[in-house]
Amino acid sequence: MDVGIKVLVVDDFSTMRKIIKNNLKGMGFNNIVEAENGQKALEELKKESVGLIISDWNMPVMNGIELLKAVRGDVEFKSIPFIMITAEGQKDNVMAAAKAGVTNSVVKPFTPDTFSEKLQKVLG
């Protein structure tokens, strides 16, 4: 797993971003950018060369599934691994994300172990 890649963390709640960031840092990732919604994430994508997107589902302005669809529909970004964070019991959301081409899903709340396990699977 290449911990040198740039990771984009998308969540409207800064505490949540921090939790994800701390988890990432714990695994050795240090190159992290943040965005507070899908729209801002797309702007970040254009600025930086991102190697992994971790996004929440529920956000104002542009939510996670809309971001995923935009990313998958863009020639430049479509192969970036995308991890969607969904809330408990939202099976429909997980399925919709799968159909839209998500790389993997993480269900909230997660432990650092499950989180790093998923990342291992996604990044190999």
Binding site: T15, A87, M95, G101, T103, S105, K108, P109
Partner: protein, 735 residues
């Protein structure tokens, strides 16, 4: 066919290279399956379709990490290809896939709509725990506190917006999100109570978003309550962080969480349904029929599913209509755009339209116009008539409001009264959307409260009594509203013990209201409870207080030109039937002539009309003229004398009499001619005539002349003169 083949090929390729947890690939396979499902309308083979559904269900399980075993998936796809080849070569498919389906854990009917059943956590007994903050959580906890408090304050502002526009999904979303995030983060930080409360509130808002719950003041209050409590708990966390001590968790959330969950459970049952689902549920059509029709709908987009079903002769149109009606019930929150208007302006508009109608009628009957013999003028006149009449109707409709608000006030009342009297009472309502003049609605509240009080306090038995006679423990009060002709009917029905006929008779005799030899119908006996000072219950209770007789109810309703009747079955309950005019601005009346003048008698007051025979007429000393009708002597009132005009009929058998009733008293009115039934617009006849007794108002008649609307109780008073006073004194003695 070819497309399906290609997709199957692609799927098997994906499956071969499928690695554990490769969700992207599995998503792709799901998409292929969906496309195959869409295309296979042309194949229509049950084995094939069952297998596809089973495979999709299994894939979902793999994605949800419920299973890791890929073998059933691989075998299933192999089998699918085999079946497809047979189909393509037009061979019979007789593969036994039951073993395979079992391995894929496919249950025929459920697989499609298999939904995760959210297990509602039962509220556990709460303890006032002290939670230690882990060192590594400190920083995040601090952020969480600040951000959550910010967000919660933002909710309060959004809630005000929501109160003004409860249908705005964006506002609901804005309120939903902070709860959602607080729920998410608090679970990371092991703040269990905060998590649970935020979770319940989030679910509640989710239901609101899906329109399974209608946002009202109650919901907004409960959300506010939840915000306050979350704030308090988060401030506790804050305090603990600052002092470096443990979090003091001494707030009880169980009560609030339970109340929110109760709303949630209620909402889960009322999600919006499709017409198809409703029809299948009622057994009108089979799920297959719906599927076939949906396929057809794809071919002809825009065509309604009901239309297709009828076309294919699966059901008749009546069933579709009742299904649609059912569906409508589920559609909450469809709020139409509204503006607030001063009621004075509305009343003014109604008055002005009344004037317009009159002037239009006069114009139409103006001789110049009648004799003009001008086709164009005639046409324009007709147009004017039509527009005026619809303008009038619209103006009237603007003053109409649904009776819902009044009904809903009763919910609280019933709950409180039931609690106080220790009875179990459920309130069921129907026809809440029935519209009624807002002036009527306001006056209706008190009498309704009175009747419901009576029903709960006297009508409904105690729980023990109910059980003793083998009735359900909980009783029901039914509140119904509907329109019948130009009247609104409101029914209040309970399933209590019913009225006690003997007790009413006994009471009536003791009050000299009836004599021993009077023969009374059941309805006449029951309706006696509306007499002033009539109360068969001796005890004073907390609920009904001193029996303020039902006469108050009757008076209030008669003031609205309505009528109240009662029906009762001993042991089964009583039913009050209130009949009210649709609007106070229009009155239905009998147009009568006395000499040269025309009067209108409100239809509600009329009991019968006839031409009396000579021997029906008699004069009784000190009581005056009487008409014998149906075995009773009824005092005669000569309208011409009341209004000091000259009538044609000097002797009663030369004219007509109309029997009218007011407050249980009957009188015969002598007049010359019945001209017919008419709906007239009531016009106030001006300040200077306000005090004229016996006249309720004026109405402009078709010929442009003014007709006077009779005020029956006023006429009784004039005719009775001193007699009325005597009765009042007597009643005073009784009371």
């Amino acid at each position: 066919m070819e497309k399906i083949g290609n997709h199957l090929q692609a799927i098997s390729l994906e499956v071969v290279t499928l690695a554990d947890q490769d969700i992207a690939a599995m998503g792709k396979i799901l998409n292929y399956f969906e496309e195959i499902e869409e295309a296979f309308g042309s194949i229509d083979n049950p084995v094939f379709s069952d297998l596809i559904k089973a495979l999709m269900g299994y894939l979902e399980r793999i994605i949800m990490a419920e299973t890791e075993d890929m073998t059933p998936l691989e075998e299933g796809i192999e089998c699918l290809q085999k079946i497809f080849r047979s189909l393509k070569n037009e061979e019979d498919v007789n593969d036994d896939v039951s073993g395979l389906l079992e391995a894929l854990r496919y249950e025929k009917s459920d697989a499609v709509k298999e939904e995760d059943i959210r297990t509602e956590d039962l509220p556990e007994a709460e303890t006032n725990a002290l939670i230690e903050i882990r060192a590594e959580d400190r920083e995040i906890m601090g952020d969480f506190v600040l951000e959550s408090l910010d967000n919660l304050s933002a909710i309060e502002i959004s809630l005000i917006d929501l109160e003004q526009d409860p249908s705005d999904v964006e506002t609901i979303n804005a309120i939903f999100r902070p709860f959602h995030t607080i729920k998410g983060v608090s679970s990371f930080l092991n703040l269990e109570k905060i998590n649970k409360l935020a979770h319940s509130s989030e679910n509640l808002l989710d239901h609101a978003r899906n329109r399974a719950i209608q946002i009202d003041a109650g919901i907004i209050d409960i959300i506010l309550e939840s915000v306050d409590m979350l704030k308090k708990m988060i401030q506790n966390v804050h305090g603990a962080l600052e002092s470096g001590s443990v979090i003091e968790d001494n707030i009880t959330t169980v009560d609030l969480t339970q109340r929110i969950e109760a709303l949630n459970t209620r909402a889960s049952g009322t999600e919006e349904k499709t017409l198809g689902a409703i029809l299948v549920e009622s057994g009108s059509v089979s799920p297959e029929d719906i599927k076939v029709s949906l396929e057809r709908q794809k071919e002809e987009p825009g065509k309604k599913i009901g239309e297709i079903l009828v076309e294919q002769k699966k059901i008749d149109s009546k069933t579709v209509i009742s299904g649609l009606r059912e569906q409508k019930k589920f559609k909450h929150g469809q709020i139409e755009l509204q503006v607030k208007v001063d009621t004075k302006k509305l009343d003014n508009l109604v008055d002005l339209t009344g004037e317009l109608v009159i002037n239009q009628a006069m114009l139409k009957q103006n001789n110049t116009i009648v004799l003009a013999n001008d086709q164009k003028l005639y046409h324009t006149m007709n147009q004017l008539t039509q527009i005026t009449s619809s303008l009038q109707k619209t103006a009237m409709a603007m003053r109409m409001v649904p009776i819902k608000a009044t009904f809903q006030k009763m919910v609280r009342l019933v709950r409180d009264l039931a609690k106080k009297s220790g009875k179990e009472v459920a309130l069921e309502m129907s026809g809440e959307d029935t519209e009624i003049d807002r002036n009527v609605v306001e006056e209706l509240y008190e009498p309704m409260v009175h009747m419901i009080r009576n029903a709960i306090d006297h009508g409904i038995e105690s729980i023990e009594d109910r059980e003793n006679v083998g009735k359900k423990k909980s009783s029901t009060i039914n509140l119904r509203a509907y329109q019948r002709g130009s009247n609104i009917i409101i029914e209040i029905e309970d399933d209590g013990r019913g009225l006690n006929k003997d007790r009413i008779l006994e009471k009536a005799k003791s009050k000299n209201l009836i004599t021993d030899n009077m023969k009374l119908t059941n309805s006449e006996i029951y309706n006696m409870i509306f007499h002033a000072g009539f109360s068969t219950v001796k005890s004073v209770t907390d609920v009904s207080g001193r029996g303020v007789g039902m006469d108050v109810v009757k008076k209030a309703i008669e003031k609205l030109r309505g009528r109240v009747e009662i029906d009762s079955r001993p042991g089964h309950g009583s039913k009050f039937l209130i009949s009210l005019p649709l609007t106070l601005a229009i009155i239905e009346g009998m147009l009568v002539r006395v000499g040269h003048d025309k009067y209108i008698i409100p239809t509600l007051a009329i009991r019968e009309s006839f031409r009396p025979e000579k021997d029906q007429y008699s004069t009784i000393k000190q009581k005056g003229e009487m008409i014998l009708s149906r075995g009773r002597l009824i005092p005669l009132i000569r309208l011409d004398q009341i209004f000091s005009v000259k009538g044609d009929a000097e002797k009663p058998w030369e004219g007509l009499v109309v029997t009218v009733e007011n407050d249980g008293e009957k009188r015969c009115l002598l007049l010359d001619e019945l001209l017919g039934k008419e709906e007239v617009v009531i016009k106030s006849i001006g300040q200077y005539m306000k005090s004229v007794k016996g006249i309720a108002g004026g109405a402009i008649l078709g010929d442009g002349r003014v007709g006077l609307i009779l005020d029956i109780s006023g006429i009784f008073e004039i005719a009775n003169g001193s007699a009325v006073k005597r009765v009042e004194v007597e009643e005073g003695i009784i009371q």
